[in-house]
Symmetry: C2
DNA sequence: CTTGCCGATGTAACCGTTTACACAAAATCC
DNA sequence: GGATTTTGTGTAAACGGTTACATCGGCAAG
């Protein structure tokens, strides 16, 4: 019994013929160790939990793809759970998950401090995605929204736009707030005396369309910068309905670089976030934590400016 | 010990005060049962495995969303694994998963007969998604590709198009073959003497673009039907590059109704597949199998024709 | 021919639950 | 009021692995 276990695992101290014999029988029986029993005795599950606020859209499928890639490379399994809008529900999901995994990747919309114990529940290490703030000492992976928004605004200004409107995201969303901050800072530093023009939005396509209407009614700016791509797409439609051309009458830019941006007409200038890469790195961070390695607490990813036709730059062809 | 177990589970035969006391202590200790130990003794994991060929694109994120929705409604966890291109790798993943789950949803590109044991490995029930064929007695969920393709072709014919070209999918892909069959049948039955015009493709955007070039060079048909949406989008670009307008010079239709189709210009006529719904139903099928209920073996979903501007019908506005 | 050592294998305790069964106390019956 | 049922709680044996430790040959050294 012990010899079988040793053969199938560590391979330490098992004589050649015995080893072969065990392996032969095991394969004849199509034997597979019971993971629960193994977890019971080793206190490891070889599974990473993934907790997401939602699953809609391309952002999450990219994220999961990155995580999955890294997980399979390390022989780890993935336990997925989503739709955790409010902190209470997320906390419940965290509890339900904790005895089944060795570590958890948590993506939260709000800063996690509120529902997150300083040390993960039941001791499993936690890794945070987004949400900006510090998470009680857990490592976190965040996008440099400020820098991305700054770069977009700067780019628009560099092509001669002086009056740039900003369609904001949800007021309580940290990512949205940072993007607004980047827009403001760029206006001040690059254009100097430019005045802000901020239109409310909520990251949804519809709110982008509404914003376009509001903006068109108020006298056109030189450019519109939407805090995410979905709003930019809605805005594009709204402008078209108002009979305005992009980038002819007004330039347009978004944020995220979701795949759709390449297919709309004109293709959207945006700030590209390496979503899958972040997922991969987050999982590797989990693996490090499990094996007791130290990891840096804050990982910040700077978006890359992608110039496309909607801002009057880039290639006029939709695919560059 | 037994009383604690009874309190936390079945709630049978535990006196009021005892029950309260147990619950109080449990919450004070933030006690959570060890899922491995529980699985060991109950032989249930309350987890469903999900095996996918890939994670790229919106199709899979929708599918997972549907599965997750149903899983959380039933208190089940989800173990996800993807990127199983070839059968051998899928079989390995199946083995790795089987001791950790109560049932597995397998999405395969080829018919599963080859790598799938008649009864799931280790006895866990299997449910198949796509791949068309019979799967050794396991329930399967398939899209009625034939009917969908027939409906699209019929629709194009009904708006007066006589010459309809078809951009095919990979020759060995069952879904693709069925769509081709639907196209052919509709041509025969609806138009009668129409001759087929089949252009090769592989479901990729690029192959759609190439097809457009081929078609434009060969004298324009009245309409082009692409076997999936991504090719239709590529085709649209190819036609635009060739200076042709859709639907003015030629009508265009796709298949799947991925979200992007609403945002391209003109919006794409397509056959809508209820992806999330299929995921939900597949998970419910797993739950039924686990609890020993009988389920029907073949679930077929008929796509819904979505008429948009690319075929000259539908509203000219991109969002209907 | 002992003695000691070492490498390979066997033994048994433990991981944390569930659950059949034993048991005690309380409630019901004649 | 004793026999009998009911009700609630405790005991111990699984579940299927891992691993510290005991055991057992074989071989080298004395």
């Amino acid at each position: 019994m012990a010899t079988v276990s040793r053969t199938l695992n560590g391979m330490e101290k098992v004589a050649g013929p015995t080893r072969d014999h065990v392996l032969k029988i095991a394969s004849e029986l199509d034997y597979i160790p019971h993971s629960g029993a193994r977890a019971l005795s080793t206190r490891r599950t070889d599974t990473i939990g993934v907790l997401l606020p939602d699953l809609h859209g391309e952002f999450f499928s990219e994220l999961i793809r990155g995580i999955d890639l890294a997980a399979r490379a390390r022989g780890l399994h993935l336990l997925l759970s989503s739709s955790h809008g409010d902190p209470a529900e997320a906390a419940a999901a965290l509890r339900a998950m904790r005895s089944r995994v060795d570590s958890i990747i948590v993506m939260s919309l709000q800063p996690g401090g509120d529902f997150v114990p300083a040390s993960g529940p039941g001791g499993v290490p936690l890794v945070f995605l987004g949400g900006g703030a510090h998470h009680n000492g857990h490592p976190s992976f965040v996008i440099d929204n400020y820098a991305g928004a700054f770069a977009i605004t700067e780019h628009l200004a560099s092509t001669g736009k002086r009056c740039i409107a900003f369609v904001a995201g949800p007021p309580d969303n940290i990512e949205a707030k940072e993007r607004l901050r980047g827009y403001r800072a760029a206006l001040r530093q690059v254009i100097g005396n430019a005045s802000e023009w901020i239109v409310p939005g909520d990251f949804s396509e519809q709110s982008g369309r509404d914003a376009a209407r509001t903006i068109a009614a108020g006298g056109l700016p030189d450019a519109i910068f939407c805090a995410n791509d979905m709003m930019a797409i809605g805005c594009l439609e709204g402008l078209r309905e108002a009979g305005l051309s992009v980038p002819g009458d007004v330039a347009l830019a978004g944020f995220d670089d979701i795949p759709i941006t390449r297919y709309v007409n004109p293709p959207l200038t945006t700030a590209a976030v390496p979503i899958a890469e972040i997922g991969r790195r987050a999982l590797e961070c989990c693996a490090d934590l499990i094996s007791g390695r130290k990891t840096s607490l804050k990982h910040k990813f700077k978006p890359v400016l992608v110039k496309r036709a909607s801002s009057g730059s880039g290639t006029p062809s939709p695919h560059q």
